[in-house]
């Protein structure tokens, strides 16, 4: 890993998850501008979110993994195959749902998806049968004989997913899959992404600016900034605050309780009604018992009624902002 903050995700048994894509000292340049300066990264199996601000190098990384861009230095492997020497075999086993609208002009949905399958090397009869299946799966069964040009934005997003799935890829690249969708369409698309990436033998890399989308679909994330990995790991791991922050539920909001806790070296970081979030000092954060004693003592002093407390979980947005600003 290129950053001490990042650690490779592990499986439930504690073993490192096998990488579906890995890059070593990858350098990609656009003319004189270096976009990926010696990036080293392993992307594990499962659904992985690729996060980063604009210009961080996410799309460049995807393009390089697809073999669209030639690296200036370093090497990249996808599904165990070298991008530089085996780009066609790689593209046969991966699916791409690009960010921008794309289709083959003049074709109906079923023709388009079947053609995409044939281009990948499927026999025409199987490509056609499979096109019907994936169009049904993506919810376009009723509109499959309509020309793609007549589709709404939401339908075009779905057909992009269908054409990426038709040949049964082992790895799927989704670039902003909810781009331009209304809330309901977004929900349905995220359900599809979540469904396809879990228990179907298919790994998915989702590149998105929308953190809630990543939170909802992905198991792990890679945060990239200026072409370098600044955070990587399972979402559940990254969300942990290592007991540094606690959420306390009171029966009623009590300023005296806040004052008592603050007087012990903790700091109120957020409050929502009677739910309070405290950042503890290093001594108190060491054990759950110390934190408990702190809250019970404060409750005794203030007369507030504590209904419960637990280590707080960070939102992905917090993790992302922390990684970007670090």
């Amino acid at each position: 890993m290129s950053s001490p903050d990042s650690s490779p995700p592990v499986t439930a048994t504690g073993a490192a998850a096998p990488a579906v894509a890995s890059v070593r000292e990858l350098t990609v340049r656009y003319g004189a501008r270096t976009v990926l300066p010696g990036l080293t990264l392993d992307i594990p199996e499962g659904c992985v979110g690729l996060l980063g601000p604009n210009g961080a190098g996410k799309t460049t990384l995807l393009k390089t993994l697809m073999g669209f861009l030639k690296p200036a230095a370093g090497e990249a492997h996808v599904l165990g195959m070298n991008v530089a020497t085996d780009p066609l075999r790689i593209r046969q086993r991966i699916g791409l749902m690009p960010e921008q609208e794309c289709h083959i002009p003049g074709m109906s949905a079923v023709q388009f998806v079947a053609y995409a399958g044939e281009l990948t090397g499927m026999p025409p009869a199987q490509a056609l049968r499979r096109a019907h299946e994936v169009l049904e799966y993506t919810g376009l069964g009723e509109a499959r004989y309509r020309e793609v040009e007549t589709y709404s934005t939401g339908m075009k997003q779905r057909i992009k997913l269908a054409q990426a799935l038709v040949h049964g890829p082992k790895l799927l690249f989704l670039d902003e899959p909810t781009n331009g969708l209304d809330p309901q369409g977004r929900d349905e698309m995220l359900d599809l992404v979540r469904d396809v990436s879990h228990g179907k033998g298919l790994s998915v890399i989702v590149s998105s600016h929308l953190l809630p989308d990543i939170e909802r679909t992905c198991d792990s994330v890679v945060v990239v900034r200026s072409g370098q990995v600044v955070r990587q790991g399972l979402l559940t791991d990254l969300a942990r605050t290592m007991n540094a922050e606690y959420e306390v539920d009171l029966l009623l909001y009590s300023p005296a309780f806040v004052e008592a806790v603050s007087g012990s070296g903790a700091r109120l970081v957020a409050s929502e009604g009677s739910r309070l979030r405290f950042s503890l000092g290093p001594e108190q954060a060491r054990t759950a018992g110390a934190a408990g004693r702190l809250f019970f003592e404060a409750a005794r002093q203030s007369g507030a009624q504590v209904r419960g407390f637990r280590p707080a979980l960070r939102r992905l947005e917090d993790v992302f902002m922390e990684a970007i600003e670090s």
Binding site: Y30, G31, A32, R33, K63, M66, F68, L69, L88, R89, R91, Q92, I94, G95, L96, P98, Q100, E101, C102, H103, I104, P105, G106, M107, Y115, A116, E118, L119, T120, G121, M122, P123, Q126, R130, H132, E133, V134, E136, Y137, G139, G141, E142, R144, Q163, A164, L165, V166, H167, G168, E188, D191, L192, D195, V196, K200, G201, L202
Partner: protein, 381 residues
């Protein structure tokens, strides 16, 4: 929606079947299972024939869409070949009748003496007459072939798959080429079959053993030229109409420039002394190259073609004029004919020059298209 009892086929009949199955068995039948299943079937890389998928799709898209700009020229080309075939038949038969009955006088009056190698001349004339229609067809089916893909970001769909730029371009080119070749080759072969049947007795096949191959080559070259050029222009545009307009501009401009250049050279004494140069300059346009190559392949000279339209060589007459008035009339016609011939290049353009220009017209647009066609636009900072 997924995992519901919706039918996979989406047809009412299938939905009813699925509903009945659910009702009867109470369990999910296979037909209602629309959840995602991975594909574990065959996937071939087909290293030498990946382009064929693109070719088939290109042909299918143009044929299915019933484009008038393709089918009207196709019909007109057939009509032209039919008309030329009939004309040839009438000319030959009348001449034969004349020679058999000794009615040479009548033939002379009608001017129906056919020059030598008349079959090849007829093929050449038919081909030349259809070149513009071929251009219209090329414009219709070819101008949008890559431009529309550029507009719809279809290149991302192609190149996210095991398809190389060569596969894509060659597949597109072959699709357009085959569609255009059908317009030139099929009518020519029909005419050839007509001649073979009609003139079998007079040794059409035995006297012209290589004519069919020469004819095939002559008819394929214009299709190849048009396919390459229109593809080259299409690759550099995102709007099919713009690509069509620019290619049409190129076609007409180059055509006019070469014709005018040839005429100007014929008007100058010094240039007329170099008829080969005049012939090359006159044939430097798209149709000019196709015609120039056809002259060589069919072994026809421009003079034979020109005199064939007149039906005779200048100065040849079977019957002496009856009176002074007829003599004067004949002389005036003779003079006009000679003037027309003087304005025409009488030499075949140099084959090497035609090959060079034709090769450039085929390869340069493809190279330009290859440089332009990419999965992603890379802006070098």
């Amino acid at each position: 929606m997924r995992g519901s009892s919706r039918s996979r086929t989406g047809t009412p009949a299938a939905a009813v079947t699925a509903a009945a199955a659910d009702h009867a068995g109470g369990s999910q039948s296979a037909i209602t299972d629309v959840s995602y299943r991975n594909y574990e079937g065959e996937l071939h890389l087909r290293p030498y024939f990946r382009w064929w998928t693109v070719t088939v799709a290109t042909i299918r898209a143009n044929v299915n869409r019933k484009k008038l700009g393709y089918w009207v020229p196709a019909a007109l080309i057939l009509v032209i070949y039919f008309f030329m075939g009939i004309l040839h038949y009438l000319t030959q038969n009348v001449r034969d009748q004349m020679s058999m009955t000794g009615a040479g006088m009548m033939g002379g009056m009608l001017g129906l003496e056919a020059p030598v190698n008349q079959y090849a001349v007829t093929f050449y004339q038919s081909l030349s007459a259809t070149l513009f229609l071929l251009f219209i067809a090329a414009l219709t089916i070819g101008s949008g072939s890559i431009a529309a893909d550029n507009r719809a970001n279809a290149l991302l769909v192609y190149f996210a798959r095991p398809i190389t730029r060569f596969d894509y371009l060659f597949g597109k080119w072959m699709g357009i080429f085959l569609l255009l070749a059908a317009l030139t080759v099929v009518p020519a072969l029909l005419m050839y079959a007509f001649f073979a049947v009609t003139y079998y007795d007079v040794g059409f096949l035995s006297e012209n053993p290589w004519l069919i191959l020469r004819l095939l080559a002559a008819t394929l070259i214009p299709a190849a030229l048009q396919a390459s050029l229109v593809l080259g222009f299409s690759a550099w545009s995102k709007a099919p109409r713009l690509a069509a307009a620019v290619y049409a501009g190129f076609y007409f401009l180059l055509g006019n420039l070469t014709v005018q250049g040839g005429r100007m050279m014929l008007a100058s004494e010094s240039a007329r002394a170099r008829p080969q140069t005049v012939a090359v300059v006159s044939n430097m346009a798209v149709d000019g190259v196709a015609s120039g190559m056809a002259l060589h392949l069919l072994d026809v000279t421009p003079r034979q073609v020109a005199t064939s339209f007149e039906g005779r060589e200048p100065g040849r007459r079977n019957r002496p004029p009856r009176n002074a008035e007829e003599r004067a009339r004949r002389e005036r016609r003779e003079q006009r004919f000679q003037e027309r011939l003087d304005r025409t290049t009488t030499e075949r353009p140099d084959l090497a020059a035609m090959l060079l220009i034709g090769g450039a017209m085929i390869l340069l647009p493809l190279a330009a298209a290859h440089a332009k066609v990419r999965a992603v636009e890379v802006i070098r900072g």
